[in-house]
Symmetry: C2
Subunit: 305 residues, 2 copies
């Protein structure tokens, strides 16, 4: 038989953060909350709900605290806030003050490219390692769950190829801080299945079951779903995706979105892999949110439905 | 290392036939020939250039003989004509009369579903087997190269699931006639990688290296490129694709196209698999033909370029 172990996967629904951050029109807080409610409704149990970045840099996330304050207080949900520095972790911690539910887990980010890292968050790789290690330590000391994503792990828009050894060295440094998981992200959607399968296999050997792996793909060059399959084949069981493939920018057609939750779920369930997601409910949620944005979303499965 | 053998593949460019047949506006013969010239230019060496069907059923193919008469007489190219019956084979043979180059190879088609087969070409599976065996015998007897595609091999729009055993039984019957290759086609784009990988692995064992396998995917539910990767992993080395992902119908958004040549080539070359295709030239050809049709084509790679 075609080599394949049908083990369940976990979806991390990143639509509310990575999906929305490039939308040129500000989505109302109430619409974000309705979207998150729909996502819980179709079975998403871990959701990237906001990022703690400066509102001048990402205006779409200016209402992060307002969104978080109104999240349903569900015991079975994990809400992730993206953080780029210690100040972000402090904002995440502040959402829990005065007995409020707030953020459950922070998602740290390091870029596997000096040039891209400096442009994106003012850090070389070495500075990013130091900052992320400090953030992970600080979060844990304060009782905040924390994980980390290595961004541009399969290619950099400025430097081109990214050496697997560079990514693995970063992962090894971060692993020393015991994050809940380490993700590799194909931020610009250049990865291919052989590359993805190989790098996750090497990461899996490095982490040796001590720390779970997560993957994050964009479909910029049509390889996103194939890369997700290759990651699955190399032992990844946690997958980022965004409803509808949100994450593109309607004014920049080349900035395409995350892989679509519906397409990932269709591919996985159709391959015998349990996801815990109700695909029909996700498609219905896609169509509701498409009305909010006033345009069709990229998911192929939702279009075929 | 992630299990992976970098062996070269062959592209079968199906844009001129499967890509165009659903276009509502008739593409001028001269534009079809320019498209085929572009495809030869980017390195395609086997091309499905026309189908021999009744012009009332597929008006876009009414100029089949005119297109074929004007094809470049290149020794390194193989021109395929699609045939659904013996009359089609006779039309293919007629293109070679009077010393003309004409069609090099006929592509026969059988549908792996009684209901779909009856609607598409008025044949049950049993009737299709008999007809295709007769066509293969007739073509060979007349000195015409011939191969065959098993359509709806991964699902039927009317009957739903298609049993792998049904597909394999059809393949076994057809193999007895010694076609140059046997293809499995996901005509409606419902297949998933585990299903594709498993069925091609079983077909490979059945054919045991005697007859090469070819695959044909549509990206209707976003799985097309992932399915191509799974097929590669199961030993398939011949891939149908159409420039730009042609094959959708602009008036029926749910009828999405073949996997895009550019996206397949990007994925394969980026995985270390040689294709013989010049990707930049294919993207340029996409942009030229998009001008002919007056709309952007679905290929993600061409959009990202």
């Amino acid at each position: 038989m075609y080599t394949f172990k049908p083990e369940p996967i976990e979806l991390v629904e990143v639509g509310p953060r990575d999906g929305l951050q490039n939308e040129p029109d500000i989505v109302a807080t109430v619409d974000k909350l309705a979207l998150i409610g729909d996502m819980l409704g179709y079975g998403a149990r871990r959701l990237e709900v906001a990022s703690f970045v400066h509102p001048q840099r990402v205006p779409q996330m200016a209402d992060a605290e307002a969104v978080i304050a109104a999240l349903p207080d569900r015991a079975d949900a994990t809400y992730i806030g993206l953080v780029l520095n210690k100040r972000g972790v402090m904002r995440a911690l502040a959402t829990r003050e005065n007995g409020r539910r707030g953020i459950d887990q922070v998602g740290c980010v390091i870029v596997a490219s000096d040039t891209f890292g400096q442009k994106n968050q003012g850090q070389t790789i070495a500075e990013g390692i130091a900052e992320n290690r400090a953030m992970l330590r600080f979060a844990k000391a304060e009782g905040m769950r924390a994980q980390v994503t290595i961004s541009a792990a399969f290619g950099c828009p400025f430097e081109g190829a990214v050496e697997p050894a560079t990514v693995l060295r970063i992962a090894e440094e971060l692993a020393a801080e015991g994050p809940e998981e380490i993700a590799l992200a194909d931020t610009i959607g250049v990865g291919t299945p052989a590359q993805v399968g190989s790098l996750f296999e090497r990461l899996g050997k490095l982490l040796d079951g001590r720390i779970p792996m997560r993957c994050h793909f964009h479909n910029t060059r049509g390889t996103g779903i194939a890369n997700a399959w290759a990651a699955y084949q190399s032992g990844v069981r946690i997958f980022d995706a965004s409803l509808g493939g949100l994450g593109g920018c309607p004014f920049a057609p080349k900035a395409t979105g995350n892989i679509a939750t519906e397409d990932l779920i269709y591919m996985m369930e159709g391959s015998g892999v349990a996801t815990g997601i109700d695909l029909d409910a996700a498609i219905a949620a896609n169509h509701r949110f498409a009305e909010v944005l006033g345009r069709e979303l990229p998911s192929m499965v939702a279009r075929a439905a």
